[in-house]
Subunit: 202 residues, 2 copies
DNA sequence: GCGTTCCGAGACGGCCCCGTCTCGTATTGG
DNA sequence: CCAATACGAGACGGGGCCGTCTCGGAACGC
């Protein structure tokens, strides 16, 4: 967490209210959930919705962008190390995580909205990409490399392409197709089908 | 084209300037190209950039949303009927079209911005989806159905899933990965790899 | 030439937002 | 109790945009 500005030492005076932190982020999430565009959000509106003074927001964040980054972070679940038995199962685990993220009660409309609108703002997107996406992508690469080493995946394919082949179809659904189906066995189906195509030729 | 409001008969008075039409749409494109968020665009700003009175815009479009739909449409190239010899070649043709759209001088940063930000506005997105995407998707479905009928694709797979398997990886790159590579043979590589996975088992 | 509609420019009142600042009050350490 | 900082509320000047309306002038059909 970013835990706005507790500068090590012990500051005198009334400490900042953790409840206010939560109320602000919660309010932003609620508004987005209700269909607000990021562009339609304003510090003023968020503060109103949170039942908080504007100054209380500005005391913690420098502006909308900084706040949004923390809003995004509040949605993150810890990344489970896949480290399963087979490469196939690891891939299913990773894709299944994507699927569940796309389904989770708030994340559904919400993560989609935030993510899609985010890389409107190049800056916001780059920050989110660096902080959140990069780690997950590296995890996927590692699994794929292991698959190549074990001979479960052809060695002549670009790693990046390979990653897109697996994640692209799932992303396509999570992000683009509104509330369309993310059915139960989707991760398995995608992995098994794509894996069939990238298996070493006999 | 939407060709704003020429009501069949012959109206008296000075006719609307086609140049103004073009200048307005061009200005919107230019602003987006320069990195503006759709949320940051305003009729006022677009009119200023176009060297046009606000009334001239409002005379043609009811508001930002209506204008944006026409802006999107201005980017569309006609859809080529694939109707190639093999299903494989048709798929390559369709994906290659996506790739080229992602590369085209303006479309590059632009189509990405518009598309991604668009389904912030549910309404905008639905309109775009109905007018533009639907036709392309139906074309893809047709090719896939033909592939099944000819025995080039397994018949037990969901058509929608199949479509995502092919288009997802390409979309992933076009939309999500900033200016990242859309190399020459990408369409072929994706099609050939995925096709390998969905071929009927021997 | 006349009526009509368009044009660019911009004034207009109303709205929302920005980021700062000032209230009166609450909560901490010393 | 005191100094320091926090809190909710909201005033403040400044800015941009909305959608309408009014200019004086331009371009049509008749």
């Amino acid at each position: 967490m970013t835990a706005p500005g507790y500068a090590g030492a012990r500051l005198p005076g009334r400490p900042r209210s953790a409840a206010a932190d939560a109320a602000i982020i919660e309010a932003a999430l609620r508004l987005i959930e209700e269909g607000a565009t990021i562009g339609e959000l304003s510090i003023e509106r968020i503060a109103r919705e949170a039942g908080v003074g504007k100054a209380t927001v500005y005391r913690r964040w420098s502006g909308k962008e900084a706040l949004m980054i923390d809003v995004m972070r509040s949605l993150e679940e810890p990344n489970p190390r896949p480290a399963g038995a087979s490469v196939r199962d690891d891939l299913v685990t990773l894709l299944e995580l994507m699927r569940r993220r796309g389904l989770a009660k708030r994340n559904s409309a919400l993560l989609r909205t935030v993510v899609t609108q985010m890389h409107a703002n190049q800056e916001l997107w780059r920050a989110y990409d660096a902080h959140v996406i990069a780690a997950r992508r590296e995890m996927l690469y590692e699994v794929l490399r292991r698959g190549m080493a074990r001979g479960e995946i052809r060695g002549d394919l670009d790693l990046e392409l390979l990653a897109d082949l697996f994640t692209g179809p799932m992303l396509s659904r999570v992000i683009l197709h509104e509330w369309k189906a993310l059915p139960e066995g989707l991760a398995e189906t995608i992995v098994d089908t794509v894996l069939e195509g990238v298996r070493p030729r006999p």
